[in-house]
Amino acid sequence: MKTGRFWAWVVFILGAAYFFIPLIATAEFSMRMRRGAYSFDAYQIVLGDARFQATFMYSVVAAIFTIILGVLVVVPAAYWIRLRLPQLRPIVEFITLLPLVIPAIVIVFGYIRMYGSNSPLPFLANDTATNALLVIGYATLSLPYMYRAVDTGLRTIDVRTLTEAAQILGAGWSTIITRVILPNVLIAVLSGAFLTFAIVIGEFTMASLLNRPAFGPYLQNIGANRAYEPAALAIIAFAITWGCMSLIQILSRFAPKSANRPN
């Protein structure tokens, strides 16, 4: 057992080195802008850049719309499948896994060809519609994570009993969904939302191919033209991802613990 523990430490330390050296190197590199001294100049330049602010805000707004769209599409479906149509579960689970099978670049390629300016549904005809198409594409990318999160949340509550109780008290469907089901799975929905946010905020492929002024293409552009700013941006991006994941962890502590109901 002692040798086992020794090797466990070796593996852990090697792994930790592989994961922390790039982070340390990036942090160090990002502070090297001023000659001979460490400084936060690169961060100041990046954060003060008007294009950084504009593209970052664009992506934040896109992420928020993505989350709203994702919730509208996923929550009713996941709820309805638990309540009424369990036989559809395998089909829906298969569909939600498709975005992991079909690369994002293929999906957006399909959009460009199918919804071009001359098509019956010309999403690429103007900026507003293209923005909508980007949000739709992001919602597609986040489908596997959103569905899984919501379905896990629904598993911990007794959907049938809650619905019947609400119906007996005279609630309609919209009341049941917004005032009974949604509050109960709110934490699960929020976990899915933060994961979606982390995926969407720096997404490059779709935004770039749809020519949207998003954060991902901005990052790529800075990387191709600057030396120290990319390192600062990498640290900022890592902090954002870290923030989203921490929020999910914190939220999971508030999630209902009454799992493993037979339903």
């Binding site: 523990r5 994961f19 309540l83 099978v101 999906i107 399909g110 990387g223």
Partner: protein, 304 residues
């Protein structure tokens, strides 16, 4: 449709008169899942089918196999080969390293906080991909990166003089491993947790050594989910573009970058060849996932 109305009638027969049931239940039965299916068909299934059909058509819309045959052009074959090599190498390295880390933190007798810290970090690192990851590796292993400089000045090892380049096969593989290992850890830890203590005790009671316990119990049980995850990692790397594009520009000719250039500027001078490339990508990741599902169903027999 027919068997749907049939099942509705049988349910309705117990609770309400059939006429009323047909009027009220049929629409509501489907209304909850309708937005989901409309969304999935319009923005996931139809666009993909459109490309797949386009791969079999020429500019005039006639059926042809020429686009698929044109995939055998040397630069396209080279792109597929290097993509498959990078994806496979990063998936295998990521899988074995991830498995080692997972076993170390679950079974290695390390303090408890290490396990939770590793899992939290893995959740973050598996989502830390794309353009920023490329920046991090350029700052680490680029020509002026910290690791490159320290290896050179402290250990006298100039990795660039020895043929290493971050803008190469190994550079890209090493970068991809950064999100492959954590993904492996996140997926495989539950599988290792699923190994029941009783199995170890039973093996020990029957006189098995630790090596025998691993060879005859642990590895056979973990094997399907391990292989399944390798395939998932492969598909994950195969479709990725942002990291490679930010890291190497278009100097490394992998399939997603080729397709990206084709979508932007028709570099292959044949729009339908782009469809064929997309079709090839779907076939490869699709096949990978068929195997994944197959291994997954095999592993679930044990890990309930």
């Amino acid at each position: 449709m027919t068997d749907l109305s049939l099942s509705n009638q049988t349910i309705a027969g117990k609770t309400a008169p059939p006429s009323e049931a047909r009027a009220l239940r049929l629409p509501t039965q489907w209304i909850g899942v309708a937005p989901f299916f409309i969304f999935a068909v319009m923005f996931l299934i139809l666009p993909t089918l459109y490309l797949m059909l386009g791969a079999f058509q020429n500019e005039a819309g006639e059926f042809t196999l020429e686009n698929l045959i044109a995939l055998s052009e040397p630069n396209i074959v080279a792109a597929y080969l290097i993509s498959i090599k990078v994806s496979l190498a990063s998936a295998l390295i990521g899988a074995f390293a991830g498995l080692a880390i997972a076993v170390a933190i679950v079974r290695g007798g390390l303090p408890n906080w290490i396990r939770s810290a590793t899992l939290t970090f893995s959740g973050v690192a598996s989502n830390f991909a794309g353009v920023p990851l490329a920046f991090a590796f350029l700052a680490t292993l680029g020509r002026l990166g910290l690791a490159t400089v320290i290896l050179n000045t402290v250990f006298g090892l100039n990795i660039y003089a020895h043929g290493f380049n971050i803008l190469s096969f190994w550079g890209l593989t090493l970068t991809y491993v950064y999100f492959q290992i954590p993904l492996m850890v996140v997926i495989i830890v539950p599988a290792i947790d699923g190994l029941k203590k009783e199995w170890g005790e039973a093996a020990a009671t029957l006189g098995a050594t630790t090596a025998q316990y691993w060879r005859m119990v642990v590895i056979p049980v973990i094997w399907p989910s391990f292989l399944g995850t390798v395939i998932l990692l492969f598909a994950n790397a195969f479709g990725a573009i942002a990291t490679a594009y930010a890291l190497t520009g278009s100097s490394l000719n992998i399939v997603p970058i080729l397709l990206y250039a084709q979508i932007r500027g028709d570099v292959l001078h044949n729009a339908h060849l782009g469809y064929a490339i997309a079709f090839g990508m779907i076939v490869i990741t699709g096949l990978a996932n068929v195997f994944y599902i197959w291994f997954r169903t095999r592993s679930e027999r044990w890990l309930k």
